[in-house]
């Protein structure tokens, strides 16, 4: 018997953090303006010893003002979406659940868009409205998925897909009707990290991310049992209603934060938890931190790709994740049907 130990947990997270660090350094290097690794390491070293004033101005602009904030945003968005995906998969007992497939991302986007049109002067209104949109959508999709009081996998997924397409039309409708200049919107809707975030929003994002992931992580052991069924979990000592409420709210919060910062980036919440399960097993106590780190790695890498494939033109990062994600989704779906 080899149960999960603290040592294995820390060791795994430590290794993934090292991988994330390497990916971040590479992402700082890559882009329309090439920068050598030596220069990069030297300048990072200067920043580390507090001598950032001696950096060349163009360097500082490209690496520290443009690329680094974007990479940090990618880290946060990736972590939020992956953990939300892993959480939805446990709650709905469905390996194909993901904020994007369930329509929660579209719900957030609709909320965020309404806030942008109605109250553009309040920076806080966007994430709040996105959160409301996420909660309303997941509640709606959950109710659609119920058949005779039981959650039906297929109905749930269909409900999610229908909600997503319905909300996409609402978004198109709003964008067409709105008198505001929303030309950047289609790019944002595809999932994009290039829009700079005001610094107060970044702080809100960071705090929300820590609270959301932390809340879900406190229920990690309960989620393992919820996967065996709600009644069984209750017999084994899980307070099912409380756990479900905490996780639904926290996962919706994470989705809303990710969407309000970067639009609807698809498939990360689906693919990253599956990859982490494949690598480290399906125990949620290890799956949640590894998904957070794995999601960060995936988005930073995908964004680096999006910036370089057609440089100097940039692709939305959501296009890259969808190109990689859709075939893997089909593979998982077919494996499940067999």
């Amino acid at each position: 018997m080899r149960p999960l130990t603290l040592r294995r947990l820390l060791w795994t997270c430590g290794s993934l953090s090292a991988v994330l660090f390497v990916v971040i350094v590479l992402a700082l290097k890559l882009g329309a303006v090439p920068i050598s690794v030596t220069d990069l390491v030297m300048s990072l070293g200067r920043v580390a010893i507090g001598r950032s004033d001696r950096l060349p101005a163009d360097y500082r602009l490209i690496v520290f003002d443009l690329r680094l904030p974007r990479i940090f945003l990618g880290v946060m968005v990736g972590a939020a979406l992956s953990v939300a995906g892993a959480a939805f998969q446990a709650l709905l007992r469905n390996p194909l659940a993901d904020p994007y497939v369930l329509g929660v991302s579209s719900g957030s986007a609709t909320g965020a868009l309404i806030a942008l049109i109605v109250a553009p002067q309040f920076a806080l209104a966007t994430p709040l409205a996105a959160f409301l949109g996420a909660v309303i959508t997941i509640t709606g999709v959950y109710l659609l998925g119920l058949r005779d009081g039981n959650l039906d996998s297929t109905t749930l997924l269909l409900g999610g897909i229908i909600c997503a397409s319905f909300l996409s039309s609402i978004i198109m409708f709003l964008m067409t009707l709105s008198s505001r200049d929303l030309r950047g919107m289609p790019f944002w809707l595809m999932g994009d990290l290039s829009t700079p975030q005001p610094s107060e929003l970044q702080w809100i994002f960071l705090v929300g991310l820590i609270v959301g992931i932390g809340a879900i992580y406190t229920t990690a052991a309960d989620l393992n049992l919820l996967l065996t069924g709600e009644r069984e979990a209750a017999h084994l000592g899980v307070e099912v209603t409380r756990v479900k409420l905490v996780v639904y709210v926290a996962a919706s919060l994470l989705t809303a934060l990710a969407v309000s910062a970067s639009g609807a980036i698809g498939y990360i919440g689906l693919l990253v938890p599956h990859a982490m399960r494949f690598l480290f097993g399906s125990d949620y106590r290890i799956l949640i931190p590894t998904s957070a780190l794995g999601g960060a790695i995936a988005i930073v890498a995908a964004d680096a790709l999006a910036r370089t494939v057609a440089a100097p033109t940039e692709l939305p990062v959501g296009a890259v994740t969808a190109i990689a994600g859709a075939p893997i989704f089909i593979y998982l779906l077919r494996r499940r049907m067999r």
């Binding site: 080899r2 149960p3 393992n224 065996t228 017999h235 084994l236 000592g237 125990d283």
Partner: protein, 294 residues
Amino acid sequence: MSTSDANATLAARDAAASPIELPRLAVEQASYAYAHQRRSAPMFTLGATSFQARQREVVAILGPNASGKSTLMQIISGALKPLSGRVLLDGVEIRTLGTRTRAQRIAFVEQQSPLVFPASVGDYVLQGRHAYGRALHLATEEDIVLAMNALAQVGAEHLADRRMDQISGGEKQRVILARALAQQPLLLLLDEPTLHLDIGAQVDLLERLRRLCEENRQTVIVVTHELGLAAEFADQVVLLHKGKCLRVGTAAEVYQRELLEQVFGASMDVEIGPAGRPRVSLRSRSDGEARRTM
């Protein structure tokens, strides 16, 4: 913690729990009604049911499909609140216990839903220790010893490192039982544990249950519609039919030909075996000849 320590803990808990000889489980006039909607007429009811069980006793709840067996089990487990009456475990009403405390005292093995992401057998059995864990519920030395003991008790310790989706149906049923044993319950509830097992595995499982019930001083309640197995292994039988509790007693008292024929809708013969336990055989409707021993 060794097996003897675990037994000593159990003994101490028993002594503390029942200074006078209380029944371990007392079901008192418990009833229930299902309705599609809150205000509509009930679709199914379970009439007032009463019985008691002591420690080391195996009780079989018998009845054809839709007789209320599973509902009664849900009420005993505390998952359903009875419409009237109450269920006491060592004198304490089960519904008043918190979720964790309930899981430390009652283990309920229901008909299993498939696992979404298969775990290892060891991790699965350790889930039985959930109600004792803190924060991340990382397994302690004690948890591991108790989980291995539970696996050993069902003769499945060699499976600990296998995955749940790579073992046979009979092995899975034993592992599920081990998870319930790892909860160290006073009361073990099993809903149709023999459903998908062949006859050899059925007998093996019930013999194990009988032994475990003695070793761990547990009270075991089993739902089944296997008349023969219930007669062989149960100390007490509760016979349900269309939501009514028809009879409670030993198998010899409950197994009366007319009664069983009426409840199960088939012609049968009942004879008392050498150990005083009844044997039931099915008669074909056409020729009245005994065809199959149940």
